[in-house]
Symmetry: C2
Subunit: 260 residues, 2 copies
């Protein structure tokens, strides 16, 4: 018996999230089925991050155990032959049988994408939040700096969170602003904002509440220093709105070598 | 009676192309229906470029005639209320009743997107051609320069073309290479190539044959100077492969002011 770690990319648009549901298709279930096609074994993958409906990933992580003789690094190619085209395994390797992707110290990076455009941009409808305002990126960056460091993020978590503690550490919040397409005459004033948040763990809806709050700062509805008061309040109603799921991508999870 | 010009963006994934078909949904038909919801009139839009199934646009152009009292610049907002979320009108204005978007001198810009990645990238499956090789962008740029200028592009047109002449002028071919996402550990060696072609008109499949040929140059299967021989041959079988439709976007059509 050996344990295989998969790194998984997916477009979450057509899924009810990661975790198997009584009704509706999930990332977990298509992985289980894909693995069964390869090894013949009934498996249930363990995911590092149980992303919500509509949320995407470039580097979520799943593990499963197998008696198969296939070398660890060959599983990515083999499983991809049995996955729909909106899910792709981008790496596979054998790990220690003790490795559990949710019981490890990790560094996770999420990106939240906003497109500011007077008219909806169909190409980004499943991967960005379309807002019809221009956003002040300098104010958004000022606001973001209050979030960096170890804080109690209770105000930035869905009230339904089951976490034991709401203290987390954010290592960085970067905000990039790029023109959507300068060659398009009528979308020349549309911009894509990427809010990139890296931390040691995130509460339920935390990145989406951060993105919604920073959008409101960019729009001028909130001031950068309001974010400090939101953290101090330790109350979900103090922070800004929850941004919609389609803008969110789990980009990367870093595990310490010693844990694998 | 007045003539309205619409600039239209769409994700072509779920469409059988621009032009109305006996079976299957088309961009033309959703625009006709959207306009009818606004004005109550039965209209048939005239499109500037009848893009193929799976091809997208940021700036295709359509015109229609109406007795409506709605000011020209308000149609974009009004029609968008009655369009699916993969089609969006990004500008509208009144034009001369004589303006016909296919009987004008224009400058058109297309972009063809390729992602070079060992594993499929689900996020780009409907907007880029995924090739599992790395591509030599310098060679692609060398090859592209042979295409710039006035040439007989017979080798770069689908044999089914009905054009009277196969002579066209390409003003520029730009090729950009950018990392797909440097924060993703396992997709860090994936690159997005944008081939941007601007010209006074394009033959059927011309940009897709250019993109397919340049991909083969980038892969090392063809040499840059082969492109000169392809042009000279005036024979479709001399040029490279036709790249798949999902990588292609009609970005912009420029009309001379005097023609509107």
């Amino acid at each position: 018996m050996k344990r295989i770690k998969l790194t998984v990319a997916y477009d979450g648009t057509n899924y009810c999230g990661w975790q198997i549901q009584p009704n509706g298709n999930t990332i977990e279930s298509v992985l289980d089925k894909g693995i069964k096609c390869v090894t013949g074994e009934d498996v249930h993958v363990i995911g590092a991050s149980r992303t919500d409906a509509g949320v995407s990933a470039l580097g979520n992580v799943a593990v499963f155990d197998t008696e198969s003789m296939i070398p660890g690094d060959r599983f990515a190619y083999a499983i991809n032959q049995h996955l729909p085209d909106d899910v792709s395994v981008v790496d596979s390797c054998e790990v220690s049988p003790d490795f559990h992707p949710r019981h490890c110290n990790t560094v996770k990076t999420y990106e939240y994408k906003i497109v500011s455009s007077r008219f909806p941009v169909p190409q980004l409808r499943n991967s960005a939040w379309n807002v019809p305002y221009s956003l002040d990126v300098d104010k958004m960056r000022q606001a973001a700096q209050y979030l960096v460091g170890e804080h109690d993020f209770k105000s930035f978590a869905c009230v339904r969170t089951s976490a034991e503690t709401t203290i987390r550490t954010i290592f960085s919040v970067e905000i990039e602003k790029t023109p959507f397409n300068t060659k398009s005459s009528h979308l020349a004033d549309s911009y894509v904002y990427v809010i990139r948040v890296t931390g040691n763990g995130f509460l339920y809806n935390m990145v989406r509440i951060i993105a919604g709050t920073l959008m409101q700062v960019g729009k001028g509805q909130l001031q950068p220093q309001d974010v400090k008061e939101m953290l101090d309040a330790k109350d979900r109603t103090a922070a800004g709105q929850t941004a919609p799921p389609q803008g969110l991508t789990l980009v990367n999870i870093y595990f310490e070598e010693s844990e694998m």
